[in-house]
Symmetry: D4
Subunit: 213 residues, 8 copies
């Protein structure tokens, strides 16, 4: 497509059969598809139906990618992905995974959250020196990390609130609100746990740099 | 600064005196400042204090810009700004205004909202042919336009919900929710009525293209 | 009854025994009943109690219909039912199912949602040329499809938000809010996942046309 | 247009000048327009600009209608409009007003709410004997009237919650929730205070009967 | 105690052992106790510990009563308990059960809800002719029945919202809001699903009549 | 009427003319009426229209009572009214005022709230020794007083949350929630600021004692 | 009193006369009082009634203190008060003002918020070297500063969210949620804009150190 | 660390393997760690990995503490921990447990809640005579106990709302709101169920007294 963003289906609430029906149809038309929130059963059914060629199951990200395209995009650009805690990693991997399919190099820095701001400095320095086009910051609970990062870099930051946390602001509402209320310009957000959209948008931004050459 | 985003103060709830105190201090240090949600009284007090040189009052956007820098950024890139209705224009102007200070060219397309999807096609076509780096879409009420636009362009879209609307979802909550729930990848959002941040982030994206030359 | 709307019981939270008690009583009085959110166990218990005559179990819609009336209504009119995604189909089937018992012909167009507006055009054209009296549009997540459809047809549109979606606006609140905020006149809504009411109201509208002959 | 629904602008938050600009443009193109939530100043500015021909200001409904069409629709059908209390009348008039422009006859029954269910019986009987195609029921506070009416008539009922009421459920949220939760099939709703949409949809339903002759 | 209201423990979230510890202690001190939201396991453990004397398990109400008092209150007065639907019965039984321990006679009228207002008339007539001191009305979904009943009787009505219902207002919030917004004076409410408190308060009211003899 | 509760109109949002229209009509039919949230202008217009006979304006309660009945109820019973703070007094007076019209004696105890539990003891002791049938407790902010009182008396307690308070739980939501969550049986509630309903229900309870003589 | 916390009245919603009534009574009994959210009119009325002796009006904090005690507490300990922005200063002053009446020394550091974390370092260093017993951190919008500070000091931090901010999380809800969700142990909070309570609690903590000498 | 607060990991949502990875790493660096919301499986995996030395599993608190430090803090000070009900005990134990690791003595008083205020008096008296530096009060449902306690003691009170309760204010929102709305100065709060933070802050306060010797 114009944007190069892979078609994605959300597997939660669909039977493995329904999922693999759609996978089969889309792959035969476009050569590729992404399945988010995928289960082991979805994976089993898919490879049972269309074989293992070009099928990758990123279990951490709960994603299945089927990519049988001839010309895969590559070298599109570089982005960074940070998480505040370890619970935020699956969503971060979902983002990284999508950006990689779209041809980006991804620099990861996980579990560097607020409890020790200093821990974010090193991965950030690497990202800046590697000239990332955009930084995705994934955080739950109070969700303050994206705002801190946005104050430190000169590129756009995409905040991804995660549904980690309990009490007032549970389910990611606290983190989302913090990110939207942030006074740090340059920070934009996606919905709670929507790693997919963060990864896709980051890749669109990264691609811009290359395409302008 | 690293990012080139102007310092901004939020005038609502501050006396004109407090506003102009800050303006005077910041301008003397950095040569420029932006004042959002500014009143006529704020404007009067500012020019009374520091004179009219480099002071622009964009009344539609309720912004005052003071820019006394020697080297103003220009030619940084091109972005598009769309609004769904006429009530959304002040927030759109806030965004456009900030992007312009940061050196962007802005293509506007106002009042092209959902009631007639066809009306959005023409300004979008212009924006695409002019190779915008990013499209800001400002919308209140149901807030569906950003999602429609994101489905049509290959660049990132920044959705800005506005506080237009009444009943369930009043005050912009409906529009914000729609944008976050959108299935269209490539769409990221800022908080309700936060035109400033949308404009600043769009300029960061636009600049990326140029900087890579 | 005056309205021809079948009595319906909501099976969730009732034991199969309680459900079949009510079914038996109502069928003996009125010749028919509808059971929504019905389980396999409800179905087994019902046919165990009253036999299979006139009992239809629409598993997709999670509905059991018992219809032992002599004179079933038919040819009452024609309505359309659309869904944005595949997850919305069970609720759409609930609506279609009720309209059919009330004697309507139903034209279905599923999975035609916003990601590709063009996909909605074909089923809509058919519906218009078949002169539907009303279009039911079922959508989760951002719930923008009903508004789009209402802008394209000259008949009433009934929006049915579904509880699909996560993050801010989860559980259908986002879709409901979008539909209520919509600027498109001619669009009315029912509660989240209430396919039954959408189907019943659509049939009342369809019947009006016939009854005026 | 296809649907015959007049173009409407929402005057709240627009200057009289902006309102009359739009009115002038739309009237010259389509011969008519409706202005909702209109002030005296809007009215003054409009007749100052385009004269009084075909301009009607319904103060109770806070609407201005400009209608300079040659062929005005008439005899399109009959609808009923009920209110629970006296505070609900402005919204009811907004609905009635729109339905009348679209060519409907409107039977009104105001202040017949729950405190005495018996008071609703008489106007309802008239409406039924006059064969209304649809009943609009406008109610604030607990908003129970639409549900009661839907249980008594065999035509669709459109519930309009109003922003009357205080405490938990204030601003119309209570009434809206009651209507959505209602067990009475045949009841559909519009957003709080959205009389315009209720009137437009009712007229679409009424027209159906006629159009089928 | 002064009020005669039995001590009650809320079993949900406590182990059977913890529950029976408390039961044993309280019964040895006061001769009686009520256990709400009790499971089969709670029951088994209690009779294992203290024997079956005076232990009654009302499964419909999910309550266990242990009453080993010498002088049980009786003839304290008469109250009515109504439910809108069948799903509301467990909460109604919780209320009835408590009122009975406190010495009241209870007249029940279940599943008489709004769908047919006429169905409420007969049980209400009996309650009025039997001179009940108070009517408890239990209702979920739109929760309109208590308001209707309060308009028909000259005694206090206690509304009990139940957690039945889905969509906007799910979990009983819709019913609670309706009851609080009700325009019918004489209607007071307790929290969602709190049958216990409704029964206890109704008995306090009933006792007043007797005590004044 | 059956219940003796006076008809009441809510003046907020109605013009003095509309208010006095209704007052005139109701007084001529029933001899009495109550106007809540009444302004000075409402009062002026009413006495201008119907004279001062039997018109009482309780400014603290913002109520106007018109009572021209021959046989006014009296000696119906005794109730207590408490407030936590001084800001809660207007709502308490609204309740007291209604109970008095219905023939009750009212014992007041204002500003005795939680900050010093001891201050509530004295008025409570008087109320108990005077044998009140019911205690109304009006409280804003955390709203804990009704629960404390219910633990100390053997008669029903009606909690009235007021819209005093700011921050989380502002507008009375905090106080309402506290009262509904209270573990103290015998406590029932009305909506925020609804003194009228509290007074009317308390009088119904008080009357019960007398009527049973 | 035991705690030394001054009695305080909340002036908002009370007439100057009511305020000064209470002031007069309390001062004659206890020698002192604090009035929060006080207006000029409250001040005028108070000094008109009781003279100017010991009356201090802190306009920034909107507080009036009357202190005619012989032995004023002093040297009780030292606390720090920080604000994120300039809009947060009135609430910070309310806190500082109360702590000072209770005998504390207060070190202020205003407008040091997140936009530049470095700006918070200097005042924090002073506070630590001056051995403050507690730090109050006042912040609106995203409210991240208290969490950052709690990660840097070894004493308790009291977060005070302010009602600054708009959009999702407006009115201080965003800041409150952030502070409650914070992962930084040692951070406790008070309600939005409740500077009074923050100041009082900080003084209790400070006093502890001294009292143990 | 500066503050002596142990590093803590939140085990919910992490696999035992992930949990024990982190435990192993942190213990080898700092000699200790706390695991909250820990399962039996977490415990098994931890002792399998690092042996049982210094590992304590407080099952009531669902916490695992690993403490292999040479110099454990002790005699740091004394705090009190109260609960309203028995359901609140696990959260109270979490708080007590953390305070103990930080070297505090803890005086417990459980199940002393509102139903009988007198029951709180005895443990409070002990706490005061033992000179506690701070009282933690854990309460669900209406959450009124912390406010009552704050009115009775001269030291800071930390309120911990628990997620006990149903209906409006369920999940601890009611208790949290009550505590924030409380008029009792000296009361500060932590998020729902956050016993850890309450314990840590209480220990910081207690330590202050000692450290000042
Ligand atoms: N009373 C009303 N309620 C809801 N929507 C309205 C109302 N009046 C006008 N509109 C819609 O609001 C939109 C106008 O937006 P704007 O251009 O910002 O005035 C149009 O789509 C109208 O159909
Ligand atoms: N700024 C404030 N924030 C919170 N509570 C306050 C404030 N000022 C006074 N109060 C409390 O509000 C209550 C006064 O209620 P009232 O008698 O209605 O004025 C007392 O308990 C005061 O301690
Ligand atoms: N229109 C705006 N929307 C959001 N944040 C803003 C806006 N204008 C200024 N700000 C931010 O608000 C903060 C200023 O807070 P204050 O010092 O209280 O004015 C700064 O961090 C600004 O970056
Ligand atoms: N069904 C119920 N609804 C509301 N409160 C209850 C119920 N059952 C018991 N309680 C109250 O819950 C509290 C018991 O708390 P706990 O000690 O945690 O069990 C007591 O105050 C009881 O009066
Ligand atoms: Mg985190
Ligand atoms: Mg719009
Ligand atoms: Mg969908
Ligand atoms: Mg009404
Ligand atoms: Mg029901
Ligand atoms: Mg109060
Ligand atoms: Mg701030
Ligand atoms: Mg409790």
């Amino acid at each position: 497509s114009r944007s190069g963003i892979p078609e994605v289906i959300y597997a939660e609430g669909k039977t493995p059969r329904k999922v693999s029906d759609i996978v089969e149809r889309v792959v035969s038309q476009k050569g590729m598809i992404a399945v988010s929130r995928a289960s082991e059963a979805d994976h089993a059914e898919i490879i049972h139906r269309i074989g293992t060629e070009g099928v990758v199951h990123n279990r951490e990200a709960r994603m299945i990618i089927v990519d049988r395209r001839k010309d895969k995009p590559s070298n599109v650009g570089r982005i960074g992905v940070l998480t505040a805690g370890t619970s935020d990693i699956p969503i971060a991997e979902e983002a990284a995974c999508v950006a990689e399919i779209m041809g980006c190099d991804v620099i990861r820095g996980y579990d560097v959250g607020v409890a020790g701001i200093h821990r974010v400095l090193e991965p950030l320095k690497t990202m800046i020196s590697e000239d990332v086009a955009c930084v995705i910051v994934v955080a739950g609970m109070e969700g303050a990390l994206p705002s801190v990062v946005a104050g430190m870099v000169g590129v756009p930051v995409i905040g991804v609130p995660t549904s980690v946390g309990y009490g007032l602001g549970a389910g990611g509402i606290g983190a989302l609100t913090t990110m939207l209320q942030s006074c740090a310009p340059g920070l934009v957000v996606v919905n709670i746990d929507n790693g997919f959209n963060a990864g896709a948008t980051a890749a669109l931004i990264a691609r811009m740099r290359k395409s302008s050459l």
